[in-house]
């Protein structure tokens, strides 16, 4: 019986290991998303792979199954142990990264953030999709253009613990307070990461506030729920949905008018830039104030003081332009 057990284990081990081929001695760049299996990070992965091919590095994409900060830290630690030359992470919990930064420095590896930052952690740099202010302001400004300044607007977010989403909510709230004093912004509601819960909450918000004019889907996982709820309640044209939603996720809602516009950057370009930045760190190439990245349309600015490498301004997707984008 014992040997049977050992055999089963061995078989399991071989079957798992055979899938992954050993790699050549190319420098390695890794990206750790907040969670795997969502279109947004899949798009970043795809961009990263393209960059890896162009730049001649090996790309590793691995992340937690749940948005669990400990799991994520464990994955980063693992990559450090593996000796991956440059590791980027879209951090879930900014406070947990600093010990790992030290650990990476001790191993002479580069640890940096992308997509979600940990500014106090001592990370090598931060690859930003856009400034938090740019994202928050664009969204609320565009929305107010459609709802008017004395509207009631609801916010549906995903995981309450995601620090980047909470930052954007904060920016939106601050902008509304400063620029649109008549705007009534409801407290954010959190749906966890399931889209049916987001749909239920969005529906409930519309019922509770018959004067509701706008609904903001902050997490990409809440986009389909919000769009769906507006359509189901026959509120297209009455309630304007929007959010940080990729064209692929929101296309049908953008076209139906449930979400007249959404705001996002090109996550594939962000993934591309992330790997490019990793390559520069490995090569110890200093970044300039403005960098031309082959494979990206526009030059990329770098602020040496804050260590932020900025992809550019966020894009606004509407029915007029959504079909030009395939992410």
């Amino acid at each position: 019986m014992l040997s049977k057990y050992a055999f089963a284990t061995a078989a399991l081990a071989t079957s798992l290991l055979s899938g992954t081929a050993g790699a050549a001695d190319k420098p390695k760049v890794a990206f750790v998303p907040q969670i795997t299996g969502i279109p947004y990070f899949n798009a970043m992965e795809e961009g990263g792979r393209r960059a890896a091919k162009d730049l001649g590095v090996e790309f590793i994409y691995t992340g937690p199954v749940d948005a669990s900060p400990i799991d994520q830290l464990q994955i980063v630690q693992n990559l450090i142990n593996q000796g991956v030359n440059a590791i980027s992470v879209s951090i879930l919990d900014a406070s947990g990264l600093s010990p790992l930064v030290e650990s990476a420095k001790a191993a002479n590896l580069k640890l940096f953030t992308s997509d979600s930052d940990a500014p106090q952690s001592g990370r090598a740099l931060y690859v930003a999709q856009a400034t938090d202010e740019g994202l928050g302001d664009t969204l609320i400004d565009e929305l107010v253009k459609r709802t008017g300044e004395d509207a009631t607007i609801g916010i549906v977010s995903g995981d309450a613990t995601a620090s980047n989403l909470n930052t954007w909510i904060g920016v939106i709230q601050a902008r509304a307070k400063a620029k649109y004093p008549k705007l009534k912004l409801l407290d954010p509601q959190f749906s966890g990461s399931s889209s049916d819960k987001a749909a239920q909450i969005a529906g409930d918000l519309m019922t509770a506030h018959p004067d509701l004019k706008g609904l903001i889907a902050v997490a990409s996982s809440t986009c389909p729920g919000v769009g769906q709820a507006i359509e189901s309640a026959n509120n297209v044209g009455k309630v304007f949905g929007t959010g940080y939603c990729s064209p692929n996720t929101a296309r049908s809602y953008i076209k139906s008018g449930a979400m007249p516009f959404t705001v996002l950057w090109d996550p594939a370009a962000l993934g591309y830039l992330t790997v490019w930045a990793g390559k520069q760190l490995i090569d110890n190439t200093p970044l300039k104030a403005s960098n031309t990245v082959p494979g990206l349309d526009k030059p990329v600015s770098y602020d040496a003081k804050t260590g932020i490498l900025l992809l550019g301004d966020p894009s606004v997707f509407t029915a007029a332009n959504v079909d030009q984008f395939k992410f």
Binding site: L12, A13, T20, V65, Q77, Q82, S95, G96, A160, F190
Partner: protein, 317 residues
């Protein structure tokens, strides 16, 4: 006593499996065998180990014992302890606060189960909702920073390659629990009431008080895990305990404790915890997508229990 050869055989199998896993990964990826891998594996084992020890004691003492609220207890203890410090409690009390909160939450479970006779699965499912939910709602999901700097070395430091918290909390706790279970009357009682509750009551073992203690200990250990998380991350995370209830159950059962109680020991649990973390790290090391880890651990759990089937057939049923 039920500490039989079956338990020992299971422990040996577990150790062999563990060795096979380490050997397999080391052969495939030589870097895996480095010493600092061990450091990081132990670093990530502590939370699960502490919680699993408590879970193990609860399951061991029978009465369909199970604690689904352990993860919520970790989160809520961390949050409450930090909120107390922010509200003016002396930071020096942080360890006491965290463990105390855990103890209290565990006591609530114990009282509900033993005094009111509510089935542990349902009682702790309810408190899971309450504890985990309260931790999130109190903080709106945002971490509470401000853990005093003097505590951080406890969470981040190492001695001879072994994380401080593993050395100073996990190892002593498991040794203590193993010693108590093996050599004291208390330990024999735990097995007795897990193994055959009716006769345990008949010989005058204070069954309910023992179980209350098990839940309280599980809570206190979850509080200790919360403390480690504070010292490690430097902030109180409202969802730090997410998934720990299921992972700890997997570790307990994989470690050879029977879900009906009365059979098994805590050292197997520690071995199972380290094995699970090693397996996850190893799979990741060879770049197997993380989602497979969940499935492999689940499969391992089922396989280990199917194994019980073989000798069980030869016994009287």
């Amino acid at each position: 006593m039920p500490q039989t050869t079956a338990t020992h055989r299971k422990l040996i199998l577990l150790a062999l499996l563990f060795a096979a896993i380490v050997a397999g990964f080391s052969l495939y990826a030589p870097r895996f065998a480095q010493a600092n891998i061990a450091t990081s594996i132990l670093q990530f084992s502590t939370l699960l180990a502490l919680v699993s020890l408590g879970q193990g004691l609860v399951v061991l003492s029978g009465g369909a014992g199970i604690d689904l609220s352990v993860g919520g207890t970790v989160s809520l203890s961390a949050v409450l302890a930090m909120m107390a410090v922010r509200a003016g409690a002396p930071p020096a009390l942080l360890p006491v606060l965290a463990i105390g909160c855990g103890l209290l939450l565990g006591l609530v479970n114990g009282v509900v189960v033993t005094r009111f006779g509510i089935l542990p699965l349902i009682a702790t499912l309810s408190t899971y909702f309450i504890y985990a939910g309260t931790a999130m709602a109190l903080t709106n999901g945002a971490p509470i920073p401000g853990v005093p700097a003097w505590l951080l070395p406890f969470g981040r430091g190492t001695v001879g390659g072994i994380p401080v918290h593993f050395l100073t909390v996990v190892v002593p706790m498991f040794l203590l629990a193993a010693g108590l279970l093996a050599f004291t009357a208390w330990g024999r009682w735990v097995y007795a009431l897990g193994f055959n509750e009716r006769s345990a009551r008949l010989v005058g073992i204070p069954v309910d008080r023992m179980r209350l203690l098990a839940y309280a200990l599980a809570g206190a250990l979850a509080g200790a895990a919360a403390l480690v998380s504070l010292a490690w991350l430097g902030s109180a995370r409202p969802n730090i305990g997410v998934n720990l209830e299921l992972e700890s159950l997997a570790a307990v059962l994989l470690g050879g404790i029977a879900i009906t109680g009365g059979v098994g020991g805590v050292l197997g649990v520690l071995l199972a915890v380290v094995m699970i973390v090693t397996l996850k790290s190893g799979l990741q090391f060879v770049n197997v997508a993380t989602i497979w880890q969940v499935g492999v651990v689940g499969l391992l759990l089922i396989l280990s229990l199917l194994l019980d089937l073989l000798p069980a057939r030869t016994r009287l049923r």
